[in-house]
């Protein structure tokens, strides 16, 4: 052991409750990453189950499996959960799991704020879904269009939970974004200039900038809606001087950048996985960065392409069609660069790469159908039809979720120290690939045949029965694939093969330290001289193996001489102090949020807890101890 832990008191023996306490008070980004990870997985499985219920109802014409009330709640909360509780936190999940390690940092800039982001995310998600238990969830769609979502048309308490849940979740996203932006800007290892950062870090940096600009707009819209629902304002009521389009503009000024908040982390994952498994550097690093910046910038100018049929008139439709079509250009650049990265490589068909290739393929399909709605006349036929449902599932399930699967198979072993099973992974891959396409490709045809989205039933004479049955079968195949994935996750925790430091012969710094990494990640902060810093270092030390080991997993820990076991020592390592205060502060906010729905006393209690927690936060010493790495 090269590190003296004398300054740090450790419990002699871990009991169940001491372990729970450790997790509740953790400020270690890796543990917070694991908490985020499992929370997102649970929401993903729940929202997926909601989709299966809807597919049962839609499998046949005139089916009576669900009542319209339940169906409307399911489709609303499926979309809400998938966007806000699965897709949006993907950036925070992976940022916590690996970002500090990728930039050679020991933790994030504000470890307690990081814990706070997670606890707000947890409580916000519960608040958002509390309507299920309180008499009915929100039922106006994840887009919550006003005036449908205002009181005269939606009385239900589920709407209140939805609005307040999203306001609370916004705090989590923004705190996380700020924290990681500061981390990326200030805590990169010496020598890691911006243009030497891994593309994944670039992608997340851009995502976090988007979050900081986009989420406040959503919060404004939600506060308007809240005031309309509770305090008698008429922001969306034309007869009282309000504006029926206000919600749609605000929602989509948030909502379209949100699309890139969802997809850019996927682009980042692909830009790491593809080079690693092709054994080539990324092709066109600079154009990849510029393309992401361009996508983010244009992403703020396209929102009203969601509104081509509201009656904006030809000039408005033209302008938003123009800006939307422009996005195809940087997106095309990215796809071609990924292709060129694979070209001439040595592509190892391991699970992360299979999912990455699949993500590129399905994203291309989704991008091309997106190109069609960028044409307003065509959108007049496709808008609010199943064609759109096909499109965004290709982009968000095909593009994002497949890339996330790639990222999980790739990076989770770094945190757990155990590889996921390749055989189960391949079964997961093939079932998902077949099931996904069987589910979502026919939806293009349903849309072309005029089936509107968000309908709980349809008559036999509409001619949509066969396709819908096919789709339901596909959905259940996808579900079986997902069960293999879930089983693989649990199994690998117990029985997975040890991952070693660098199971994939990786290129970036996280593969230079043990799996799982020590609390402080790097015993000695690495000095970076180029892109793909770890790859270059391995090459210089001539320890990079050729073609991987017999199991295809590259070097074992005994071969790799990682940074955690670096030879020169003597640095001070500051360890952040575990703290229960972030959890209490988040709880205070959640109680206050609940109070806005139920009682003023509860608001007062919640705010008292929040303020108390803030005071305690300020007074609490942030550093647990200092250790000194030895020679």
């Amino acid at each position: 052991m090269a590190v003296s832990t004398g300054a740090v008191r450790r419990p002699a023996e871990a009991t169940f409750w001491s372990t729970v306490w450790e997790w509740l008070t953790t400020v270690d980004h890796k543990r917070i990453g694991i908490l985020y990870f499992w929370t997102v997985i649970v929401w993903f499985l729940l929202a997926g189950a909601q989709a299966l219920l809807m597919r049962l109802q839609l499998a046949r014409p005139d089916a009576q499996v669900l009542t319209p009330a339940v169906y409307n709640q399911l489709y609303t909360m499926h979309g809400t959960a998938m966007v806000f509780l699965v897709g949006t936190p993907v950036a925070s999940v992976f940022a916590n799991m690996v970002l500090p390690m990728m930039i050679g940092a020991r933790d994030v800039a504000f470890p307690r704020l990081n814990a706070l982001s997670y606890w707000i995310f947890l409580f916000g998600g519960l608040l958002l879904n509390a309507g299920w238990l309180a008499g009915g969830a929100f039922d106006v769609g994840w887009t919550g269009y006003a005036n449908m979502s205002t009181r005269p048309f939606t009385e239900g308490i589920g709407a209140n939970f939805w609005v307040m849940g999203l306001i609370v979740l916004g705090f989590s996203s923004m705190a996380s974004a700020l924290n990681f932006l500061v981390t990326i800007i200030n805590m990169r290892a010496p020598g890691m200039t911006l243009m030497r950062m891994p593309l994944f870090v670039w992608a997340l940096a851009i995502v976090f900038i988007l979050v900081l600009f986009a989420f406040p707009v959503l919060t404004v819209a939600l506060i308007f809606l809240w005031f309309d629902r509770f305090y008698g304002t008429r922001f969306f009521d034309v007869s009282a001087g309000g504006n029926i389009f206000l919600w749609q503009h605000l929602f989509w000024i948030f909502g379209h950048p949100e699309v890139y908040i969802l997809i850019l982390p996927a682009f980042g994952i692909l830009s790491e996985v593809i080079p690693t498994f092709s054994r080539k550097p990324i092709f066109g690093y600079t154009t990849m960065v510029l393309a992401m910046v361009a996508i983010a910038f244009l992403g703020f100018s396209v929102w009203a392409h969601h509104m081509f049929t509201v009656g904006m008139g030809p000039v408005g439709n033209f302008a938003f069609s123009l800006s939307t079509m422009l996005i195809a250009i940087p997106t095309g650049v990215k796809v071609f660069n990924w292709l060129a990265t694979m070209w001439g490589g040595r592509i190892r068909w391991q699970t992360p790469m299979l999912f990455a290739g699949n993500a590129v393929l399905l994203f291309v399909v989704g991008g091309l159908s997106g190109m069609m709605h960028a044409s307003p006349p065509i959108d007049a036929q496709q808008h609010d039809s199943y064609f759109v449902v096909a499109h965004f599932h290709y982009v968000l399930f095909g593009g994002l979720v497949m890339a996330v699967f790639a990222g999980i198979y790739y990076w989770l072993p770094k945190l757990t120290g155990r590889l996921l099973d390749e055989g189960l992974g391949k079964v997961h891959f093939w079932l998902t690939f077949v099931g996904f396409n069987l589910t979502f490709f026919p939806m293009h045809f349903l849309g072309a045949l005029g089936m509107p989205r968000r309908i709980y039933t349809y008559p036999a004479e509409a001619g949509w029965g066969t396709l819908n049955l096919l789709i339901t079968i596909g959905a259940f195949i996808t579900a079986v694939g997902t069960l293999f994935f879930a089983y693989n996750l649990f199994r690998s925790l117990q029985k997975g093969q040890p991952a070693g430091n660098d199971p994939w012969d990786g290129r970036t710094l996280e593969w230079s330290i043990p799996s799982p990494p020590p609390e402080y990640n790097f015993e000695k902060i690495p000095v970076v001289h180029s892109r793909d810093a770890w790859w270059e270092e391995k090459r210089q030390r001539r320890i990079a193996p050729v073609g991987g080991g017999s199991n295809g997993h590259g070097p074992t820990p005994t071969h790799a001489q990682g940074h955690a076991h670096g030879t020169s020592g003597g640095e001070e390592i500051h360890l952040p102090k575990p703290s229960i205060i972030p959890l209490i502060l988040a709880l205070g906010l959640a109680v206050a949020g609940l109070g806005t729905i139920y009682s003023r006393a509860l608001i007062a209690l919640g705010l008292a807890i929040t303020v108390g927690a803030i005071v305690a936060w300020v007074l609490e010493p942030p550093i647990r101890g200092v250790i000194r790495s030895k020679e």
Partner: protein, 344 residues
């Protein structure tokens, strides 16, 4: 009804190349098929649609073929040496930029021209119809054709149009946002509360066209369907005249009893029957109910049994329906069913 449809279906073979051919059988009988346009707007959109499908299919096939080629051709094999480290290539990267730019221009320019074409003011000979969307039914007001009382003729859930004449719809909603969509005639247009939008198109064929609300509008959004009946010009004129001269049907037997129940139970507070004392405007105008294709915005077929079921408990048929359960007796229901069947 779909006399021209078989001629259009072979064009779908192009789409069929990308999936399973048997699905086409479904396509040929789907009454809301956007690929079977029979109005000028739907047909113009379809032309553009094929251009974009062609471009997308071309790009998609090329890119996916390259991806699969790379995956198989460059698969790692034991003993293979290290690949060449290529960091980029300026010329290729400029090409990556130009290729999508050119494809975007090819699809963008015709799209943008079409936007402005659809945005033109309706021609002066256009039939003016106001569409009022309600949760969850449709009201059509024929502004060029007025009844004896000077108000426009109104129809519920069925829009009557003369073939070949442009129609200028002005759309508005009485409650939440809806969207008017008859896929075979035109693209959709939202009906917003308090704001008027416009949609102009010309139906090219006679027949019955299926429409449906496309913007989620609450509990029974799925049951907000309607029909467009495109008639030869002279038949349309006859329909207008029949509506203008409409009076109560001959009140004999059950019909007589039905009209009494209609008034005694307050149906007339919400519903209008042209040329009678029933002047309610909360619910759909019931004139010509007997000839309609369906009940309650096509929630049910228009049969005596379905009508009885609807009258017995409307919200049980259509969740959230504003028409209340009036606890009608069996005798009252059968009298009302007879009366509705007499409203030709």
């Amino acid at each position: 009804m779909f006399s021209r449809l078989p001629l259009r279906c072979p064009r779908l073979v192009g789409v069929g190349l990308f999936l399973v051919i048997p699905l086409l059988l479904t396509a040929c009988t789907a009454p809301q098929n956007t690929f079977a346009g029979q109005g000028d707007q739907a047909r113009t959109i379809l032309g553009l649609y094929w251009l974009l499908i062609g471009a997308a299919a071309f790009v998609g096939v090329v890119v996916i073929a390259m991806l699969l080629y790379a995956f198989f051709r460059f698969r790692h094999r034991p003993g293979a040496g290290e690949p060449q480290e290529v960091h980029g290539n300026t010329r290729l990267e400029i090409a990556w930029f130009l290729i999508p730019t050119i494809i975007v221009l090819i699809v963008a320019i015709p799209s943008w021209r079409t936007i402005f074409r659809f945005g033109q003011a309706p021609p002066p000979n256009a039939l003016q119809v106001q569409v009022v969307a309600h949760q969850w039914w449709w009201e059509f007001r024929y502004l060029n054709h007025r009844g004896p009382d000077g108000n426009p003729i109104v129809s519920g859930n069925e829009l009557y149009l003369p073939v070949g004449q442009p129609v200028a719809l002005t759309l508005v909603s009485s409650d939440v946002i809806h969207s008017f969509w008859v896929p075979r005639l035109a693209g959709k247009m939202d009906a917003n509360p308090g704001v008027t939008t416009r949609l102009t198109f010309t139906p090219h064929e006679t027949g019955t066209f299926y429409g449906q609300c496309a913007e989620f509008c609450g509990l029974s959004h799925a049951l907000m369907r309607f029909r467009v009946k495109v008639l030869p010009a002279e038949e349309f004129q006859q329909w207008v005249q029949r509506r203008q001269a409409h009076t109560l049907p001959p009140l004999v037997g059950d019909v007589q009893r039905g009209w009494e129940v209609f008034q005694a139970r307050g149906c007339n507070a919400c519903h209008t029957i042209d040329g009678t004392s029933a002047r309610g405007i909360i619910g759909p105008n019931l004139t010509g109910m007997a000839s309609r294709d369906g009940i309650a915005a096509m929630a049910l077929p228009n049969t005596p049994e379905a009508m009885a079921r609807w009258l017995r408990n409307p919200p049980a048929v259509k969740a959230g329906a504003k028409m209340p359960n009036l606890n009608l007796t069996d005798e009252e229901i059968s009298a009302l069913v007879a009366f509705m069947a007499a409203l030709k």
